[in-house]
Every structure is written in structure tokens, then in C-alpha cells.
């Protein structure tokens, strides 16, 4: 499984595109927001946590169809399905690799973009914590969507339609942590809910993903 993780990471780094794409998209979305809503700094301060979370979510969504599509085309997935490693494990590793390549860079980039959006000083810590806790859930849920649509040609739009409603709880609690943190309020409850979602989907979702992937490989 470690070999699979290293392989996925190496592919992401060397093939290019995937790694920078999410980050660039995140940067562009965040930079465009002040142009669309106006440069008043109080307004930006108020919406900054939500905008940053939304940008991270969309950046994550953008890279989902690469999660399995290439391995589907060249037959790697067929090999993985017959390999001694359980497919559930292989998919968890693939989701982890996706998070390391897309989610984690977003966590580090978010405070920098927070400066551009005039985020309240108290908010930086909680923004980073909420993204670090919440983005793994986005990758794991996204792996389910990717497994579901892997057999469909040009399934990108369908993938977004299927995955977006599944992202709602994560987005709500994640953005709530960041918002409350920025306003100096108590963040315990939403943070616990967010962590609960992440651990819950990390534990259960691979089973659903592996089930649909087996159906697709049949």
C-alpha cells in the first residue's frame, strides 16, 4: 500500500498539472472575489472564511476526475482489483494521495489568500485547522463520486452534480468553524462535527467506493 501511495504521489508530481491546478484555481477564485463584490474591507472580512472554504471545495472538485480516470484507462484499476490488497484499502490510499496533492497545499495556501481577503487576525488559526480537518473528507467523498462515474465517458459534469450535494454537510461545518473562529466565538461544536464527518467518511466511505468500483469493473 505504501508503494501505491508513493506511486500516486510520484505520478502527480511528475506528470504535472494535477498538483498546480487545484492551487491555481483556488488562487484565481479568491482573487476574483474582490473584483465581483467590491473592495470594501469590512465586507471582505465578513465573507473571507466562507469564500476561502468555497474556493478550497471547488479546487478539490476540479481535480476529482483525475483521481481514477487515468488508472481506469490504462487498466491499473483491473490489476488493483485482483491484487492481494483489498480494493477498499487501495481506494483509501488513493484518496489519501489525492488529499496530499490537492487538499494539503490548499491548507497552506489559505492563510496567504486570507491576507488578500482581509481575514480577521483571530481567524487564521481556525481557518487552517478547519481546512486541515475538513479537506480529507472532501477527498474521500470525492473518491466515491469518481468510482461511481469512472465508466462514463466525459463524466466530469455528472461527477460534480453527484458530489456537490454530498459536500454540503462538510462545507457547512467547515465554514462555520472558520467563521466563528474569525469572529472570536466558540468553535468547539462545529469543529467536533467536522472531525466526526471526516473520520466517519474515512472509515465507511471506502466500502461504498470499492463496491461501486467493483460494479464498474465487472
Amino acid at each position: 500500500m505504501r508503494a501505491l501511495l508513493l506511486r500516486d504521489l510520484r505520478l502527480a508530481f511528475r506528470a504535472g498539472g494535477g498538483f498546480g491546478l487545484g492551487l491555481a484555481f483556488f488562487l484565481i477564485v479568491t482573487v476574483l472575489v474582490p473584483f465581483s463584490v467590491g473592495p470594501q474591507s469590512e465586507l471582505l472580512t465578513r465573507i473571507a472564511p466562507g469564500v476561502l472554504w468555497l474556493g478550497a471545495l471547488l479546487a478539490c472538485l476540479l481535480s476529482l476526475d483525475r483521481l481514477l480516470a487515468l488508472d481506469w484507462e490504462d487498466g491499473t484499476l483491473d490489476l488493483l482489483a485482483t491484487a492481494p490488497v483489498p480494493l477498499e484499502g487501495a481506494l483509501s490510499v488513493k484518496a489519501l494521495a489525492h488529499w496530499l496533492v490537492t487538499g494539503l497545499p490548499l491548507v497552506f495556501a489559505a492563510p496567504v489568500l486570507g491576507v488578500l481577503l482581509n481575514l480577521a487576525p483571530a481567524g487564521y488559526l481556525w481557518l487552517v485547522i478547519s481546512l486541515a480537518v475538513g479537506t480529507p473528507a472532501l477527498s474521500v467523498i470525492g473518491a466515491f463520486g469518481a468510482a461511481l462515474t469512472v465508466g462514463i465517458k466525459r463524466g466530469g459534469l455528472l461527477l460534480s452534480l453527484l458530489v456537490l450535494p454530498l459536500y454540503v454537510p462538510t462545507l457547512i461545518f467547515g465554514a462555520e468553524v472558520a467563521r466563528r473562529g474569525a469572529q472570536g466565538l466558540e468553535v468547539g461544536t462545529p469543529l467536533l462535527m467536522l472531525a466526526g464527518i471526516t473520520f466517519g467518511v474515512a472509515a465507511l466511505m471506502p466500502f461504498a467506493s470499492a463496491t461501486v468500483l467493483r460494479m464498474n469493473l465487472r
Binding site: L158, L161, F173, E176, M205, A208, T211, V212, N216
Partner: protein
């Protein structure tokens, strides 16, 4: 008494549903006509909401069926995954467009009522938001059915999506409740509460709900029959093509 699983046989299902359907159509039509006319013309105006209150005869039954249609799809998907009865999978497929229409009716009538009463077409209230999310789930489910060519794997994948979606739909319901305490009035038809809608509105509402339930059953049976025949036609065409 025959077991319910006998209706997993498409022929038996079609034969029985053909007998039941005319009765269902008539009953559904009668309930809807009686309930709506009674509700619209023979109930008093509410003392605060005026005549706008009467939209509940469409809004409440549609909202009820929007959720129950998804529940029915969930049960049918489970049956398909466990027992592999094709009729079950086709029934789930047939119910989705009906369910999404009910959701849309609930959303639209709610907006029409909300404009004069709340002064807005839309508010990000938990119930409204949950229904919007439910609407998206329906769209995704139907899109997935439409996108996959092989009918059996389409049934498999949509069934799993329905199960996973149900979990997330419930999760979203509580998440939005946490996110915004709303504007929408509480439950008004609970059996265990004192405070319900007044009796003058209650009875016609029950008739309307019965009408919507019957209409839903009739539509789903009818559409399932169509899906079965469609599947059979495709099989015939394939057989002909193979022979030629």
C-alpha cells in the same frame, strides 16, 4: 396468501398492476378533485394568512410525497441489491421523476406562498434548504441512470448512490438546522402534538394527502410497467439483431 415476492415476476406484476391501476386512477382523481375543491372553495380564510393559507392543499401533500418517494426508492434499491429483482430496480427508476416533480411543486408553491407572507420568494431556511438539497439528489440520481448504458450496472450504481445519498441527506438535514434556525412553521400534522392545524383545514388536507399518495402509487405502477415493457422491447430487438 401469496408472498409479496411473487410480484418480482414481471408478468405477474404487469397482470396485477393492470387490474389495480384503473381503480387507483379513479380513486386518486376523486380524492384530488374532492379534496382540492373542498379545500379551495369550502374552507374559511385564515384570520392572519387570508386566502393564501389554501396553498397548503398542494404544498403539504407534495412535500410529504417528495420525501416518501425517496424513501420508496431507498427500499426498492435495497431490495434490488439484496434480492436482484429487476422490477424493484425499475420501480426505483420510475419513482425518481415523480419524486423530483413533487419536490419542485413543494418548492414552487412554497415560494408563491412565501412571497406575500414572508415577503420573499426564497429564504435560506433549514426546511427550504433541505428540499433544495433533496432536489439536487434527485437530479444526480436521474442523471446517473441516464448516463449508463448497461441497465443492470446502472441499477447497481444508482442503488448504491441512493443508499449513500440517503445517509448524506439526513446528515445535511441536521447540518442545515445547525447552520440556520429558520422561518418555516413547525410540524402541523403530528399525531402526538396538541398544536395542529384547525379541524376545518385538517379534513380536506387529509383527503388531498390521500389523493397525492394514490396518485404517486398509480404513476409509479404505470411508469414501472412502461419500463418493464421498454426493457422487454430492447431484449427483443437485440435478439432479432443477433439472429439477422
Amino acid at each position: 396468501m401469496a408472498s409479496i415476492w411473487e410480484y418480482a415476476n414481471p408478468v405477474k406484476f404487469l397482470r396485477t398492476s393492470e387490474k389495480v391501476l384503473p381503480v387507483l386512477w379513479v380513486l386518486a382523481g376523486a380524492c384530488l378533485v374532492i379534496g382540492l375543491i373542498w379545500g379551495f372553495f369550502f374552507t374559511p380564510d385564515d384570520y392572519r394568512q387570508g386566502s393564501t393559507v389554501k396553498i397548503i392543499y398542494l404544498h403539504v401533500p407534495a412535500a410529504l410525497m417528495a420525501i416518501n418517494a425517496w424513501l420508496m426508492m431507498l427500499v426498492a434499491s435495497l431490495i434490488w441489491l439484496v434480492r436482484r429483482h429487476h422490477v424493484s430496480a425499475l420501480a426505483a427508476k420510475a419513482a425518481a421523476p415523480v419524486g423530483v416533480t413533487m419536490t419542485l411543486i413543494a418548492l414552487v408553491t412554497g415560494a408563491i406562498w412565501g412571497q406575500p407572507m414572508w415577503g420573499t420568494w426564497w429564504a435560506w431556511d433549514p426546511r427550504l434548504t433541505s428540499f433544495l438539497i433533496l432536489f439536487l439528489f434527485y437530479l444526480g440520481y436521474m442523471a446517473l441512470w441516464a448516463a449508463i448504458e448497461d441497465p443492470d450496472s446502472a441499477a447497481d450504481l444508482t442503488s448504491v448512490l441512493c443508499l449513500v445519498g440517503s445517509v448524506f441527506a439526513v446528515l445535511s438535514r441536521y447540518a442545515v438546522l445547525f447552520w440556520n434556525q429558520g422561518l418555516h412553521q413547525g410540524a402541523s400534522l403530528s399525531l402526538d402534538k396538541e398544536e395542529n392545524v384547525a379541524d376545518v383545514f385538517y379534513l380536506p388536507l387529509l383527503v388531498c394527502i390521500a389523493g397525492f399518495v394514490l396518485l404517486f402509487l398509480a404513476l409509479v405502477l404505470y411508469r414501472t410497467g412502461t419500463e418493464i415493457r421498454l426493457r422487454r422491447t430492447q431484449a427483443l430487438i437485440r435478439r432479432e439483431a443477433a439472429r439477422a
